[in-house]
């Protein structure tokens, strides 16, 4: 263990100790026997925790490969393409993941690939857990824009206690343009390439699902224990907003699921905090099933969330404005963000927020804008920018995107304090 590591762990222990006994603030007058006893006890705890932390510091995370989250019975319904790839060859995803890992020394340094480790020593493990899979096709000027989305988690869990320790969501997106509607076989081939190769996208960039996961994994720290947990517990679509979904023939459940995944990914990514995963479209429970590609399955106990996040999509607004040589299509998304501590019924945030996108269409063009796609893009922008505010509140953003304007600053500052405690 390097001096830097020692210092980091000593600091971590110091923080935990001061947090655990935060009530017992030293009074200048009034040293009493009870307090001295407490001090002695605290000292022993701190020493014990220090050694426990040191013991853990030497251990790597057990590499647990690829896992599907959710019930086995619903796998083909939840992950129609990935489950087909898996059914064709049960080793293919694990092998691809492993070979990508072997090519990244920073990530490799954090994990142990020794099978013999399972069952002895620390059982803190890490897996690529697939939470959501989706493919969407948009028609643009006779061309077909095909968007593949995978939502996964860097899943940190304890094999011994079968409990989830931390989950960092990762969003993997790939889009390409085709001159015909994609067939099912073509979609499957795209997903297969997304896992097994590096796919070149329409913007010239290339994507691989496991590389995206590993890139994020290299930047996060999975601790053996967290004191507080946050979870997206509720996503609501108001009646007004449902009309837009219905017109676009979108499934409400799938929309809510996708939004919940996007929200927890944005919160985790922009604030570098773990989140308790929301259930994949099912009732949110205290356990979540994970089936690993080596055939093992675990019913992981999820931590009871200390803070819950709610998001309400209140409505979508559209207004065309004709302006001389061009037409402006104004798209607005209205929403509400709620964050609270349920045991104390203590509200941190309850703010009405909105985001606007203006699409300028030059006169004489026949470009047809996909209303739903623009609304969704506006919504995801809002979710991303909102999530940044939890760690870096910005009054100028609030003035433009929060109904209460700069008056919401104190609520966002309080939320910022909360997020500091989640790391």
């Amino acid at each position: 263990m390097s001096p830097g590591d020692l210092e980091r762990y000593a600091k971590k222990v110091d923080i935990q100790c001061s947090e655990e006994h935060s009530a017992f603030v030293l009074k200048k007058s009034g040293w009493n026997v009870g307090f001295q006893r407490l001090l002695v006890r605290s000292f022993f705890w701190c020493v014990a925790l220090f050694f426990a932390s040191q013991a853990f510091a030497g251990e790597k995370l057990l590499f647990s490969g690829f896992a599907f989250s959710g019930d086995y019975a619903h796998r083909t319904e939840l992950y129609p393409y990935t489950s087909q790839i898996f059914a064709g060859n049960k080793r293919v995803l694990d092998d691809a993941f492993r070979s990508r890992l072997m090519a990244r020394p920073v990530a490799l340094e954090k994990v142990s690939l020794e099978l013999g480790k399972i069952g002895s020593g620390t059982q803190l493990s890490v897996a690529f857990a697939l939470n959501y899979e989706d493919v969407e096709t948009q028609v643009l000027d006779g061309q077909y824009l095909v968007i593949l989305r995978l939502y996964a988690s860097i899943l940190g869990f304890d094999r011994d206690s079968k409990s989830l320790v931390a989950a960092y969501p990762v969003r993997i997106k790939y889009s390409t343009v085709m001159n015909h509607p994609p067939t099912d076989a073509e979609k499957l081939k795209l997903f297969k390439s997304l896992y097994l190769e590096r796919l070149s996208g329409k913007d010239g960039d290339s994507v691989n699902a496991f590389d995206e996961w590993l890139e994020r994994f290299e930047k996060v720290e999975i601790k053996s224990k967290y004191s507080k947990y946050l979870r997206v517990t509720n996503v609501v679509v108001d009646e007004d907003a449902k009309k837009v979904l219905s017109e676009a023939k979108k499934n409400e459940r799938a929309f809510k699921n996708q939004l919940a995944q996007a929200l927890e990914t944005a919160i985790s990514y922009h604030n570098n905090v773990p989140v308790v995963p929301s259930s994949t479209g099912e009732a949110i429970g205290a356990k979540m099933a994970y089936r690993f590609s080596d055939g093992n399955s675990l019913d992981l106990k999820l931590p009871d969330p200390d803070y819950q996040v709610g998001f309400v999509v209140r409505g979508f607004r559209y207004k065309p404005v004709q302006d001389g040589n061009s037409k402006q299509d104004i798209y607005r998304v209205l929403a509400t963000i709620l964050i609270d501590q349920p045991d104390l019924n203590k509200q941190y945030l309850n703010e009405k927020i909105y985001n606007t996108n203006i699409v300028v269409v030059p006169a004489g063009t026949t470009l047809k804008i996909d209303n739903y796609a623009t609304y969704y893009k506006t919504l995801i922008e809002l979710v991303n920018e909102l999530s940044r505010q939890f760690s870096k509140p910005d009054t100028s953003w609030m003035k433009e995107h929060v109904a209460n304007g700069a008056d919401a600053e104190s609520a966002f500052e309080k939320t910022n304090e909360l997020f500091k405690g989640l790391k």
């Binding site: 086995y72 004191s227 200390d306 104390l344």
Partner: protein, 358 residues
């Protein structure tokens, strides 16, 4: 008594890194406030912290089995005074102060050392194991017999539907001013019944070695000394399992004659507490969550004080169902039996402890 519990608890705190159960607790206090401050003082906050620990303790105890709940709730006063010895970690999650109502509320995550709690539950009922275990066991020898059977086949019957149909036809003739006319009417009534027949299950006796070893592990950890049933057969002429396994396979219980022989033999060898029970394993199916093979086992057990001529039933377990998962039926079944045996033994120990028996 307080001092004894305090000493015991100090001893238990050395198990700080044993299995820990984390539970959230909310503690509230009403405070006075000072002349220059409307905020709670540090001692007010400390009281709220203590209340949060007690609230977490109550939540934790409420999830334990009824026998242990009875023991621990009965001693709550003494435990509350020394609760820090059972607490391995205490983390304040959040707090809320209401200056208008002068209330301060805190929510905290509290970790309890489960090993220490188990030992404390035993100690407050039967005393310190290191000092007098031998003496207690002398007049309260315990023995148990568990028989395991597994389903070898299940025959399910389709619903049998019976449809009854009755048709009636009537014809009436009328003659009025417009002339004679004939009216015909037919009526059809349909009814019936559906008969569902229960599954026909065939069983065979399976080895109880796994159950015996799992139960033995829990009993030994809890400091309960026991005599094995094989020794009762060899030394006290108790009936051998092979002599009554057929009646058990057929009826899932012992005949009064076999039970009587068993009790008489155990009593003759100085056994005071006798537990016997059955564990049934079902046929495996596919678990919809994990896709693995799944086997359910059902456990039923009774605990008797056989010291007097008429045995007295002092406790029972189940029927409770446990499930086990595995790559095949054999592993799934073994996993289910392990969980079932451990849980049953833990319940029996708690019930024995509640009677002051180790």
């Amino acid at each position: 008594m307080n001092k004894i519990i305090a000493i015991l608890l100090i001893g238990f705190s050395s198990f700080a890194f044993a299995q820990v159960a984390e539970v959230k607790g909310v503690g509230t206090i009403q405070y006075e406030g000072g002349v220059f401050s409307s905020e709670p003082s540090d001692s007010d906050k400390k009281k709220a912290f203590e209340n949060a620990k007690i609230a977490a303790w109550r939540t934790y105890v409420a999830k334990l089995n009824p026998a242990k709940q009875k023991i621990l709730f009965g001693k709550e006063g003494e435990i509350a005074g020394n609760i820090d010895r059972l607490v391995t970690n205490f983390t304040v999650i959040d707090q809320k102060s209401d200056p208008a109502l002068k209330t301060y509320t805190v929510v905290a995550r509290v970790g309890f050392n489960e090993g220490a709690v188990d030992q404390m539950a035993e100690s407050v009922t039967v005393g310190d194991s290191s000092k007098s275990a031998g003496m207690r066991s002398k007049d309260s020898l315990f023995s148990f017999l568990f028989m395991a059977r597994k389903a070898t086949s299940i025959r399910q019957f389709d619903e049998r539907k019976t449809v009854v149909q009755q048709a009636t036809t009537s014809t009436s003739v009328s003659d009025d001013a417009s002339g004679p006319s004939v009216t015909a009417m037919s009526k059809k009534e349909t009814g019936g019944s559906t008969l569902r027949k229960e599954d026909a299950v065939t069983y065979s006796v399976s080895s109880s070695q796994d159950i015996d070893s799992q139960m033995g592990e829990v009993l030994n950890t809890a400091g309960v000394e026991y005599a094995g049933y094989d020794d009762l057969v060899a030394e006290c002429k108790a009936p051998a399992v092979s002599s009554f396994k057929n009646e058990f396979v057929k009826d899932d219980e012992l005949t009064p004659a076999t039970r009587s022989k068993l009790i008489s033999a155990a009593r003759a060898c100085g056994v005071r507490y006798l537990a016997y029970g059955t564990i049934d394993s079902g046929v495996s199916d596919t678990d919809p969550v994990s896709g693995a093979r799944r086997v359910y086992v059902s456990v039923r057990s009774q605990l008797w004080d056989i010291s007097q001529r008429l045995p007295r039933k002092i406790g029972s377990v189940g029927p409770i169902q446990f499930s086990g998962l595995g790559p095949d039926q054999s592993v799934a079944s073994r996993n289910a039996l392990q969980v079932a045996a451990k849980d049953t033994a833990r319940s029996l120990v708690d019930q024995l402890n509640a009677k002051g028996v180790r």
